[in-house]
């Protein structure tokens, strides 16, 4: 690993991206009932002894939900914490089932693209070597 200083997070860029899909994403976030019925449809949730942080709803609320709540004003450490949620805790297999019909994978993918815009993404030397299970 190099010890180069990471560039500062561009909050205005994150805000611009968030605003692009604001209506749709906030609409869907506001209709999540927090019922946890989507949990059983995630194989990672089942494989991790039903750990709540692998629930599809948890992943959306604690990544994209927090980004919208903070209106994009986040630091790099926050984006790094989201990185684990949207890349390591989700493989975007699109099998998650929401009784209300919320497009969870679409929201995770959007959170990924926001992280990627700030250079936060898994690298092949480190993260990709780790197992999902």
């Amino acid at each position: 690993m190099t010890s180069q200083a990471q560039p500062a997070v561009r909050s205005d860029e994150i805000k611009r991206l968030l605003d692009r899909k604001k209506d749709k994403m906030k609409f869907q976030l506001s209709h999540c009932m927090r019922c946890t019925l989507c949990a059983e449809s995630c194989f990672l949730f089942k494989a991790h002894d039903k750990d709540p942080q692998y629930m599809p709803s948890y992943k959306v609320i604690h990544s994209l939900g927090k980004l919208y709540r903070r209106r994009g004003k986040v630091d790099r450490a926050f984006l790094e914490s989201i990185k684990k949620i949207v890349w390591k805790n989700c493989v975007l297999c699109r099998r998650c089932y929401c009784p209300v019909g919320i497009d969870i994978p679409g929201m995770i993918a959007f959170a990924r693209s926001i992280c990627r815009s700030q250079g936060v993404h898994p690298d092949f030397e480190g993260d990709a070597q780790q197992s999902w299970l």
Partner: protein, 239 residues
């Protein structure tokens, strides 16, 4: 105060409720419009016509045995789809939620006291259920509601994604029923409980379209409208 909350405020609450639902419906229809897809490079290949004889389709003989076999297959398929549905995976949760949502509509709509008020205001009313029955159904509703509250408090998966907003929404949903039950049995100060009951009911109506309680309407949109677009519809909506 009582004259206002039981008079104009009721109509304001209903106006907010229906206007909010109309606004959110338009919002949903706007957001689910199909996006323009980029044209793929290259011309699509023309399909080759299949040569050879047409497959002769055998006519099915509708004997009694075939009818039984068909009905049996249908039953097995239905049973299988039920087993793999939420009802099969979470029997208790699905049971409570179905009961809860049915009673959420049935109890206030077919309540005698509400229908008397409706007749006084509009000169027409809906049929009413016996008071003893609606009282018992309200009790069942409250049991279901407390089941959801305990689930939110003690099941770690649900607790992990619950915040003050979720408890507030639970309170807004349950308060009209709890105060209605208390008012019917004349517990505590009747006048105060009745006023709280009316305000709680109006508050619930106002917030439904703008909060997660909006799933009252969007459940049907999400589940059926978008699905219909890909089956009977023209496939013009994407979610």
């Amino acid at each position: 105060m009582y004259a206002f909350i039981s008079g104009p405020m009721v109509w304001i609450a209903f106006a907010c409720f229906f206007a909010g639902l109309a606004f959110q419906t338009m919002q949903f229809l706007r957001l689910s419009q199909k996006k323009e897809l980029r044209a793929l490079p290259g011309k699509p290949k023309a399909k080759k016509k299949k040569k050879g004889k047409k497959a002769v389709k055998k006519k099915k003989a509708w004997t009694l045995a075939a009818l039984f076999a068909w009905a049996d297959g249908l039953f097995v398929r239905q049973l299988e789809s039920l087993r793999t549905s939420l009802l099969g995976h979470h029997v208790v949760m699905a049971g409570f939620t179905i009961l809860f949502h049915i009673l959420l509509f049935v109890v206030p709509i077919f309540l005698l006291a509400h229908n008397i008020l409706l007749r006084d205001a509009l000169g027409l009313s809906l049929p009413s259920l016996p008071e003893a029955l609606t009282d018992a159904l309200t009790f069942v509703f409250l049991l279901c509601a407390f089941f959801f509250l305990f689930r939110r408090l003690f099941v770690r998966q649900v607790r992990a994604i619950s915040g003050p907003y979720d408890y507030l929404m639970w309170l807004i949903t349950v308060l009209p029923f709890l105060t209605g039950f208390m008012a019917y049995h004349q517990w505590c100060d009747y006048d105060l409980i009745l006023r709280v009951h009316i305000i709680a009911g109006e508050l619930m109506l106002i917030v439904i379209p703008f909060t997660k309680l909006g799933h009252m309407l969007f459940f049907f949109f999400y589940r059926f409208l978008v699905g219909t677009e890909y089956s009977f519809g023209q496939g013009k909506r994407a979610w």
